[in-house]
């Protein structure tokens, strides 16, 4: 296959990738979208293998076999709660792959049409350097994100004095190295560039707290795209450039949505350290003895069974307790007795964008019962019971009323407008932001102190007991 023909193939692959993302605009077309992606990938790989430059298939076959089987096994075994870790790990691999491709192009540029070794053009060196740097940052950054999500290291932000100064200096040094590399194309510059970028990736993500990981994972998604695009420039490959741009844009938009969901700027997240000072202060201040109304599973079952409509507000705590199946059972029973049950999802409800939707889908909750914040917020006022399980900060009215609050301005689910609020919680502790929730003390709130799964099971028991 000639280079010209290959270019047409890459164009077709790029179109398939665009169609693939386009398919995700609704759950009905989404599976088709995934198929488009697979076809695009097969075309891209097929076209490349058929170009005259590829003469020895053995390493390719070996690589595909090893990588393919690892990927397949992992993807089939992974639990949906562990999805964010998996995606972070996958991002790290894209970053590392980008570094290796750039390294291959650097040691034998003739194979990529970039000129003789040691005589690569400046433009190619710049593209190569950028792709390498972004790829390396993505690699180590994603590893830190993975470790935090997996609980291998503490999710708490790791902060030390002069951290931002150090990162800024590293950034400046990186740019200087890039310039040196572009001018001379020296191997030492290339290696230093990789080392420095790897270090920067670590340091950038370390200060960011565990619960900010949705933003980080999205951001790294974006980086992996830009790294691919950078390599695409080096190889003059349109499929890579288009795909890189798509992925880069996608990650950037997701980061933006996540930040908006927390009412924080992206810089605020990147600079990190959120949830340390505030949490400490609130823990000290949170010791007051205001009365709360506590209820039992039977009370909750009675209230919901006699309600016309119930909106369930699940948070990450629900997923941690693995309560989603029990929760679905509960809502099935309620539906059977004529109650309208819907789910309301806050943008940052899970550990990655859309995570909660997947967890509910896994528990067989139909997606047309699940609503986003903007679509359901108005309905709380006309709802009998809001059932909050494993969520806290995203329901806190202080976000609207108290300008002093750490979460002020964050969009919330307005559960306080419902006639009755049921709050499943293990204790009175404050949420991630360290802010006490005023809702607990309201007259129309009933606290259900228990583990999320145990409470759902108990309610299910009470519900089925009363209906037989």
């Amino acid at each position: 296959m000639t280079q010209d023909l290959a270019a047409y193939g890459y164009l077709i692959a790029a179109i398939f990738f665009i169609m693939s993302l386009r398919g995700l605009s609704s759950p009905e077309t989404a599976r088709g979208g995934n198929l488009f992606g697979i076809v695009g990938m097969v075309i891209a790989i097929g076209v490349t293998v058929l170009t005259p430059g590829v003469v020895s298939p053995w390493l390719i076959v070996a690589g595909l076999l090893v990588g393919g089987s690892v990927g397949t096994v992992v993807a089939l075994r992974i639990q949906m709660t562990a999805l964010p870790q998996l995606v972070a790990a996958f991002h790290s691999l894209v970053g590392l792959a980008a570094v290796f491709v750039a390294a291959a192009a650097f040691v034998s540029p003739d194979a990529f049409g970039l000129g003789a070794p040691g005589k690569i053009k400046t433009a190619s060196l710049i593209e190569m350097g950028l792709g390498t740097a972004i790829g390396a940052v993505t690699f180590t950054g994603s590893i830190v994100a993975f470790a935090k999500l997996q609980g291998l290291v503490s999710g708490a932000p790791l902060i030390f004095r002069g951290q931002h100064l150090l990162n800024a200096l590293l950034g400046v040094a990186l740019v200087a190295l890039l310039v040196w590399f572009a001018m001379r194309g020296h191997p030492a510059a290339f290696i230093l560039l990789i080392v420095l970028s790897l270090l920067l990736g670590f340091l950038l993500i370390l200060p960011i707290g565990g619960a900010d990981m949705p933003v980080v994972v999205s951001m790294l998604n974006s980086y992996s795209g830009w790294a691919a695009a950078g390599i695409g420039f080096t190889l003059s490959n349109t499929a890579l450039i288009v795909t890189g741009a798509l992925v880069g844009a996608s990650g950037a938009i997701l980061s933006y949505i996540m930040c908006k969901g927390m009412n924080r700027s992206i810089f605020n997240v990147i600079l990190g350290g959120f949830g340390t000072d505030a949490a400490g202060a609130a823990a000290a201040a949170g010791k007051n003895d205001r009365p709360v109304k506590a209820g039992s599973a039977e009370d909750a079952a009675f209230l919901m069974q006699n309600a016309g409509s119930v909106i369930i507000v699940p948070g990450y705590g629900m997923a941690v307790a693995q309560a989603q199946h029990a929760l679905r059972e509960m809502s099935d029973l309620l539906k059977k007795s004529g109650v309208t049950v819907r789910y309301a999802i806050h943008p940052v409800a899970g550990r990655m964008p859309g995570h909660m939707n997947v967890l509910l889908a896994e528990a067989n909750v139909p997606y047309d019962e699940v609503f986003e914040l903007d679509d359901i917020n108005r309905d709380f006022a006309s709802t009998d019971v809001a059932f909050v399980i494993g969520a806290n900060d995203v329901t806190n009215p202080a976000a609207k009323t108290d300008p002093q609050s750490a979460i002020y301005g964050m969009p919330i689910l307005e559960v306080d407008r419902a006639q009755t609020v049921l709050f499943v919680k293990r204790g009175m502790s404050s949420g991630y932001a360290g802010v006490e929730n005023e809702l607990f003390f309201r007259d129309n709130t009933m606290m259900l102190f228990a583990d999320a799964k145990a409470m759902c099971d108990a309610i299910v028991k009470a519900l089925s007991g009363s209906s037989h």
């Binding site: 290959a6 790029a14 990738f17 993302l21 386009r22 995700l24 605009s25 759950p27 979208g33 995934n34 992606g37 697979i38 695009g40 990938m41 076209v47 590829v54 020895s56 390493l59 390719i60 070996a62 690589g63 595909l64 990927g71 992992v74 993807a75 089939l76 999805l83 998996l86 792959a97 290796f100 491709v101 390294a103 291959a104 040691v107 034998s108 194979a111 049409g113 998604n221 992996s224 420039f233 003059s236 490959n237 349109t238 450039i241 795909t243 741009a245 798509l246 992925v247 844009a249 996608s250 938009i253 997701l254 949505i257 999802i345 964008p353 859309g354 939707n357 997947v358 139909p366 997606y367």
Partner: protein, 141 residues
């Protein structure tokens, strides 16, 4: 007389031949030069500005396409973009498919394996997620 004429003719012919070959050389040079002026690039490579144009337009396409993705599918979106960005494997394939066994081939093979993990893993996990999204069943009475 005839011999002289024949000799001159032969000389002329050889000169003509020489001229023709010179011309051919010049013509070749001109085409080479022209090709270089148009692209200045080796086979299959495009001018930077063309690539940048594609990149900029693709960013816009990405922007509009991604905003249309329903928030409920943001996790599958992430998984599939992750799989798709592993198209970086094309660069790895070029290196791994080179003749012989050197650093480039080794780097290429590693990159092929890494990207393959993503491609297979990404598409499969996306499929798993998407197959869980079901519509409401008609209520059984």
């Amino acid at each position: 007389m005839d011999d002289k004429l024949a000799g001159q003719a032969a000389k002329l012919a050889s000169q003509a031949q020489e001229l023709a070959s010179n011309l051919r050389g010049v013509a070749q040079q001109i085409t080479d030069q022209a090709a270089l002026n148009v692209a200045g690039l080796p086979d299959g490579h495009m001018p930077f500005v063309a690539l940048l144009t594609i990149f900029a337009l693709a960013c816009f396409v990405g922007y509009y396409v991604v905003w249309r993705v329903t928030p409920a599918l943001h996790s599958p979106l992430m998984a599939v973009t992750n799989a798709v960005s592993s198209v970086i494997i094309v660069g790895a394939l070029l290196a791994a498919g080179l003749k012989g066994l050197g650093a480039a081939q080794l780097f290429g093979a590693i990159a092929v394996a890494l990207a393959a993990v993503n491609i297979f893993g990404g598409f499969i996990v996306t499929h798993r997620m998407l197959s869980m999204f079901k519509k409401k069943q008609p209520v059984k009475k």
